[in-house]
């Protein structure tokens, strides 16, 4: 996720969430408060209306009682009861009609009942002679009370509220002689509830606060509305209101306050009052729809939403700008870095002039690119050099799969870099050597983790075979595991051919040179041996010279042969167990004639026990021969030669000292160079070759030894050769030095 997004989310979490939480909590609070307020005002209203209803009913009762105490009515009733005179009935009716008008517009009917419950006088003449439906109520023990009857629908189609009171005689003791029943229009109650009548009665104001959905109504025992509804026409006795507050009132006489559904199924806040009379149970309901009661909260929500939206927008914008400010340089930096990692090192860094961490990062990255550019240039040069070097160089993984190959692969094998890459090295041109050869290669580099060198035969793409000199090095990681292999291969076919030709030439030349020398040697040997008759002293002496000359030629040929083999690197080293003492003795034996002739005092000894060694006998012999030969040759008659053998630290030391002519100091450093002969030596002996010490040094170097000397002119020389006691692995050359 990008910084901008993260920052946005964080800022939103930090700011918007608490705002919404607070809003939500205050919303809940406010709602409860509003509800409580609404309920309490509904309750107040309900109680107030209940009081008005009682007051109104009491007013009606008082009026009825006043009217019943009219002496004319009681007189008329007494007369009618005594005589049943029709005239009197008419008079009473007229009196009633007259008074009805005076009393109240809302008075529907006035009936006068005798003690049997029969109507004897009425404002509606047609009713006379009937039984009053409710006479039972009036006469069963409730004689003396003024009663209010439950509302009912009269024959005239109007709603009647009956109020009855006893009619008594004028004289004491008073005696009830009948009942006066006033029929009031029940719709008057509606006016009380709506407040209309209150105004008529002289109240100063209407109690409002019910809004548009609030209403107050009465429900009778049958759960029918007995006052009008704001929402349903002709609700009285038709609209049922079977709601919780109504049931609660009817069943338990309990007045409730809370939130329920009303008769229309609308969620309302309700406060109920139970109005109980001996004849009826009414429930007064004061209600208002929740939606309206709580409508202030909608405004609150709207406000919250507006504030929330504006706030959130501001916060997002702020966060956006902060994030942009933070992330813009990072984005730029990333673009630059991407370019760099895409290989474009010439990227110019944007100048982000900032003093914060991002500025520092930019600076550091700039520096890094500079460094990279420098090292990339170095690397480029290096790669150019490797790409174009004449030897085939390849880098492979540890399975030998080619990861890199330089151009020389084409000139060497005929395959292109493309053909070679990704394939196992050598799979295209190799596999001409015995399996063991390849096994040794892989074992050496992968198991022993050492460099492998060897020559192998390969086949070019065009089918031509060639000899390659191969060297494979394992590249190890810090844990010592093989990561890569680096192989270097070059065509040595020509080199090999030349070497072979040279070797053959040398072999043949030496063979050709030796054959006539052998003839000279053997024929003079035969002559000197007296096989062909006695020789004169002179003849013998001449023949000896011929023989010696030939011997010198032989040794010269041998030296040349050895030098050429040393220089071709084709001499072989074959260590075998030997006694160094035997080797020295054998070498000395060859010089017996000259030693005796010059009467040289020669001794050899071993310091401690003469060691057994594992050396190439032939090569050791050449070394000993040359050292002893020089010592004997350049030591004057009766001189001394000492040979000392010792060992120390797995090394064999051969010390050959003489009392000879020595080596001039100024020529000492050239001593081991090929064909070098010291000035003083040339004067004494003209037939040296200048090859002996060169051969010695070449052999000693090849087996990992050292040769050194100390010499004082005219005093003598001491040569010290140190050789390993045990020579390492045999070196497979092709020629034996002779």
């Amino acid at each position: 996720m990008k910084i901008r997004q993260k920052l946005l989310i964080v800022v939103l979490l930090v700011t918007v969430v608490p705002v919404f939480l607070v809003s939500f909590l205050s919303f809940l609070n406010t709602r409860d408060l509003l509800q409580e307020l609404a309920l309490s005002s509904l309750n107040v209203l309900a109680e107030f209306k209940e009081g008005q209803i009682f007051f109104y009913l009491d007013t009606l009762k008082t009026r009825t009682v006043d009217f019943a105490s009219d002496g004319f009515i009681s007189d008329s009733l007494e007369k009618i009861s005594a005589s049943g005179s029709l005239d009197t009935v008419d008079t009473l009716n007229s009196h009633l009609i007259r008074n009805k008008k005076i009393l109240n517009n809302n008075l529907l009917n006035i009936d006068v009942l005798d003690l049997n419950g029969n109507i004897v006088g009425s404002t509606s003449v047609e009713r006379i002679g009937r039984e009053n439906l409710y006479k039972k109520n009036y006469f069963e023990g409730i004689w003396d009370e003024t009663l209010v009857k439950d509302i009912f629908l009269g024959e005239d189609g109007r709603y009647h509220l009956e109020i009855s009171t006893p009619i008594q005689t004028r004289d004491f003791p008073k005696k009830t002689i009948g009942i006066l029943v006033n029929h009031y229009d029940a719709l008057l109650l509606d006016d009380v509830l709506t407040g209309k009548l209150v105004l008529e009665l002289g109240a100063t104001s209407q109690l409002g606060g019910l809004g548009e959905t609030g209403e107050i109504y009465l429900v009778n025992e049958d759960k029918f509305m007995i006052s009008g509804s704001l929402f349903v026409e002709d609700a009285i006795f038709r609209q049922k209101s079977d709601t919780y507050p109504v049931r609660k009132c009817l069943e338990d006489g309990e007045e409730v306050s809370g939130m329920w559904k009303n008769y229309l199924g609308v969620e309302v806040l309700v406060s109920s009052m139970c109005i109980v009379n001996g004849n009826f149970k009414w429930t007064l309901i004061s209600e208002q729809s929740v939606a309206e009661a709580l409508s202030p909260i909608n405004r609150l929500i709207d406000n919250f939403l507006i504030i929330g939206f504006v706030g959130t927008t501001l916060v997002i914008l702020l966060a956006f700008f902060v994030a942009k400010h933070l992330s813009k340089p990072i984005v730029k930096l990333t673009e630059s870095i991407n370019k760099v990692s895409g290989g474009n090192l010439s990227v110019k860094m944007e100048d982000i002039n900032r003093k914060d961490e991002i500025g520092e990062l930019n600076k550091a990255f700039s520096k890094m690119i500079d460094r990279l550019q420098i090292s990339a240039k170095d690397l480029e040069k290096f790669k150019f050099a490797i790409d174009n070097t004449s030897d085939f160089i390849a880098i492979t993984d540890k399975d030998g799969i080619v990861l890199y190959s330089n151009k020389a692969v084409e000139s060497l094998t005929g395959y292109t870099i493309k053909e070679v890459k990704g394939k196992k090295i050598g799979s295209l041109w190799g596999d001409l050597m015995p399996k063991e050869w390849y096994k040794e290669l892989w074992d050496t580099v992968l198991i022993n983790k050492k460099r492998f060198s060897g020559d192998l035969k390969n086949k070019r793409k065009d089918g031509k075979e060639f000899i390659a000199g191969l060297s494979v090095s394992p590249i190890l990681d810090n844990a010592g595991e093989v990561v890569f292999l680096v192989g270097v291969e070059k065509d040595i076919t020509e080199k090999k051919r030349v070497a072979k030709a040279k070797t053959e030439f040398v072999s043949l030349a030496s063979h050709q040179l030796r054959t006539p020398l052998s003839a000279i040697n053997w024929y003079t040997e035969m002559l000197l041996g007296g096989n062909l008759g006695d020789l004169t002293k002179k003849q013998r002496s001449y023949l000896k010279e011929i023989y010696n000359g030939s011997q010198k030629m032989v040794s010269l040929v041998n030296s040349f042969l050895n030098v050429s083999r040393i220089e071709l690197g084709t001499f072989m080293i074959e260590p075998e167990m030997a006694s160094i003492s035997d080797l020295v003795q054998k070498a000395l034996k060859e010089f017996e004639p000259i030693i005796n002739e010059k009467n040289i005092d020669i001794k050899y000894n071993c310091v401690g026990k003469c060691p057994l060694v594992s050396v190439d006998v032939n090569l050791t012999n050449i070394v000993l021969q040359n050292l002893i030969s020089n010592a004997v040759k350049y030591t004057p008659k009766k001189g001394k030669v000492r040979i000392k053998i010792s060992q120390k630290n797995k090394k064999l030391f051969i010390l050959v000292s003489d009392t000879g002519i020595g080596i001039p100091k100024f020529q000492q450093e050239k001593l081991f160079t090929k064909l070098f002969r010291a000035d003083n030596v040339i004067k004494v002996n003209t037939d040296g070759t200048g090859l002996g010490l060169y051969i010695v040094k070449s052999i000693v170097d090849a087996v990992g030894g050292k040769v050194s000397f100390k010499s004082v002119e005219d005093k003598g020389s001491t040569f010290t050769v140190s050789l390993p006691l045990v020579w390492g692995k045999r070196k497979k050359g092709t020629k034996r030095l002779v």
Partner: protein, 127 residues
């Protein structure tokens, strides 16, 4: 000297060398057979059954190594001592010769005839 003269076969293409070798060994009481190449050498060997062979390497017609190989394939030639006497000092050839059971490998120019006789006697168990 034993009554039964030992028979030496010299296989050598160089006539002067062959001659001086023959003279020397005749002097030493050997019966000497001569061959100037490998093929002749094999031929003579089959007929005369010499006791020991001095064998040169570089020869026309059939070289010494080839003759040696063929000789060793013959029933009679399996055990006869062969001393290589050559001027060719080539390790490969030395090794090949030794593989086919030569008893010594001598460089002519490094050895006196006297010493060659000693080697022959040594191989024949005469010394």
């Amino acid at each position: 000297m034993a009554k039964n003269k030992k028979i030496l076969l010299v296989v050598e293409d160089n006539q002067p060398l062959r001659e001086v070798i023959k003279d020397k060994f005749l002097k030493e009481g050997f019966e000497v057979l001569e061959a100037s190449d490998g093929a002749q050498g094999l031929n003579i060997f089959s007929k005369e059954k010499p006791d020991i062979i001095l064998l040169d390497i570089i020869m026309p017609v059939m070289d010494g190594i080839t003759m040696l190989k063929k000789l060793r394939r013959l029933e009679a030639g399996k055990k006869v001592p062969v001393i290589v006497l050559t001027n060719l000092a080539e390790v490969g050839i030395t090794a090949e010769a030794l593989e086919h059971g030569v008893h010594d490998y001598l460089i002519k120019s490094d050895w006196k005839l006297e010493q060659v006789v000693e080697k022959v006697n040594e191989k024949l168990g005469l010394k």
